[in-house]
């Protein structure tokens, strides 16, 4: 069964239409990167999938069930979320933070602790298990947040700009860990950096979905050769391609006539 099936989704806030007739299907174990200019509706799309926003029209089905009709516990089994600025300013230990992500299992103290520790270990963050999340660096915090995403064991993972504000080395490791978290789940990642997408795995099995002004501008396989041209249309800026298929890097062309 299709894991995520969005048909004709319209979401507006006040008089402004944020999502306009979105249709999107994600199959089991698929990887999808969502790109688009600021304000295109990427985060709103995620919030709608999570049942945090009512739709004006259209439907969002998770494994065939409307997301808004699922109980919170059942929805938490189907979809987990890594929001922007994931970690709260609450001075609790990393392991307590992960345990909160295990809420849906309603398990005993020891089982929850074990599960939380193993999630931290898989993300290479087990040595901070007892440190306060407020005292971790940005990269360390993001690993703990990834461990929480993984620990919920949902079948669809949503990550909203997971490597934002991190240095290049941390960005790369966050994306590799994201791929690790998604070995047995589908994943949808919002990003502005198209060149990190290969870290999710085989490009020919990854999709890039572009949103612009609340509509889907294009939906391509990540190694599609027309991608640079479509990006130019999307962002309205010249793109330069470096390297070839396997190690292709697409960057904005920087020149003195760059639009300001």
């Amino acid at each position: 069964m299709t894991q995520l099936d969005i048909q004709g989704l319209v979401v507006s806030r006040g008089s402004r239409q944020i999502l306009d007739n979105i249709t999107l299907r994600v199959e089991n174990l698929e990887r999808v990167a969502v790109i688009g200019p600021n304000g295109a509706g990427k985060t709103t799309l995620m919030r709608a999938i999570l049942g945090l926003l009512p739709a004006d029209s259209g439907s969002i089905l998770l494994d065939g069930f409307p997301t808004l009709k699922l109980t919170p516990l059942k929805r938490a089994a189907k979809v987990a979320w890594l929001p922007q600025q994931a970690l709260a300013e609450e001075p609790i230990s990393a392991i307590e933070y992960i345990r909160a992500a295990r809420f849906r299992f309603g398990e005993g103290d020891l089982a929850a602790r074990d599960a939380a520790l193993s999630a931290l270990k898989i993300m290479g963050a087990d040595e901070w298990a007892n440190r306060l999340i407020t005292q971790l660096s940005g990269g360390e915090q993001q690993r703990v947040a990834l461990a929480a995403l993984f620990a919920q064991e949902a079948s669809l993972l949503l990550a909203d700009e997971p490597a934002n504000h991190l240095d290049p080395a941390q960005q790369a490791s966050v994306w590799r860990l994201l791929a690790r978290a998604a070995t047995s789940s589908s994943i949808i990642v919002i990003t502005h950096d198209i060149n990190l997408v290969p870290l999710l795995g085989d490009l020919s099995k990854t999709r890039i979905v572009a949103l612009n002004q609340g509509r889907i501008a294009f939906d391509l396989v990540a190694n599609d050769s027309s991608l640079p041209n479509r990006l130019r249309e999307l962002y309205g800026i010249e793109m330069q391609v470096y390297g070839d298929g396997g190690q292709r890097v697409i960057l904005p062309k920087v020149s003195s006539e760059c639009p300001v």
């Binding site: 049942g51 709260a88 909160a100």
Partner: protein, 320 residues
């Protein structure tokens, strides 16, 4: 001064255990050999300490729950309008019921509960709309508190003299009483409130991470909020109807517990319950020690100690 190092954790932990010594020593060392001493001990001292523990535990726990609900260490029943609403409700019963004698604890408590539920629902409604910053929500809480207090003043103004005497004595907050009649009524209600609130620890732990995140992790946010807020209001209402509005316990107790044992809700909630019981009893003992002839009501003691503690807390919070 910073209080988040390992050593200061231990200082606060030792202080919390020391607080317990006061009421325990008071109970153990009291003379009870003669008939009069025995009567004073069993009919005055023990009920008074029991009352202090039940009320203190309820206020401490209610403070911890409110802080988690509002995700703010300065949110307590006294800053979010719960205490003021309960006070207004209880005053209505006291003034229109013409004194405690005719109405009794259950009626006053019920009236206080309605008041507490109304005011805290307004403030939590503002908080749950998600459009306001936490400091704005607390300002609304203060506005509701002020409105409820001025309504209470009007009530006291129109009350006749006997009702006024009863109401003004009650409104200072005191634990003195004879025998076990009221304890028998209040203790079971409060115990049920404690059990329900303690069972919400896991839900509150997720709620403090943010409403949307809590929702995505499988928590029924609205249900958790309604349960916590209404049971919290009930506990505060019973405590207020019984012993008057006692402020600051709900603020100081969870803050001390968090300093000593960290922010984990599964520790903060039971810790606040236990510490609140000891702290209020200690404050009551202090009020009796200050002057034997004119004992200082416990509500005055907690306010006198709590106000500087609140300032210290804000300063500490911004320095670390």
């Amino acid at each position: 001064m910073r209080l988040d190092g390992v050593k200061s954790h231990w200082v606060v932990r030792v202080a919390l255990f020391a607080i317990w010594l006061g009421p325990l020593l008071g109970l153990l060392c009291a003379p009870r050999s003669s008939n009069i001493d025995s009567f004073v001990y069993w009919q005055l001292r023990v009920p008074r300490v029991t009352t202090g523990m039940l009320v203190g535990a309820s206020l401490g726990l209610a403070g911890a729950v409110t802080q988690a609900l509002f995700r703010n260490p300065l949110a307590t029943p006294s800053t979010t309008g719960t205490l003021a609403g309960a006070t207004l409700g209880a005053l209505c019963a006291l003034v229109w019921g013409a004194g405690t004698a005719s109405l009794g604890l259950p009626a006053i408590a019920l009236s206080a509960f309605v008041g507490a539920l109304l005011t805290s629902a307004i403030v939590l409604g503002a908080a749950a709309s998600g459009r306001l910053r936490t400091q704005d929500v607390l300002l609304i809480g203060i506005a509701v508190t002020l409105a409820a207090s001025s309504a209470a003043t009007v009530l006291e103004d129109i009350a006749d003299t006997p009702a006024l005497v009863a109401a003004s004595r009650w409104s200072l907050g005191h634990l003195s009483q004879v025998g076990y009649g009221q304890i028998r009524i209040a203790a079971p209600i409060l115990a049920v409130c404690w059990l329900i609130l303690l069972s919400q620890a896991r839900a509150l732990q997720i709620l403090v991470l943010g409403e949307d995140v809590a929702h995505s992790r499988g928590l029924n946010v609205r249900k958790a909020r309604v349960i916590s807020l209404s049971v919290c209001s009930l506990a505060v209402a019973v405590a207020v109807a019984w012993c008057g509005p006692i402020a600051f316990v709900g603020l100081i107790v969870p803050a001390l517990v968090r300093l000593a044992f960290g922010a984990n809700q599964r520790v903060v909630l039971p810790g606040s319950l236990v510490t609140g019981a000891a702290l209020l009893t200690l404050c009551d003992a202090l009020g009796q020690l200050i002057s034997a002839r004119h004992e200082v009501p416990v509500g005055v003691v907690t306010a006198a100690l709590g106000a500087p503690a609140l300032v210290a807390l804000i300063v500490l919070r911004n320095s670390s």
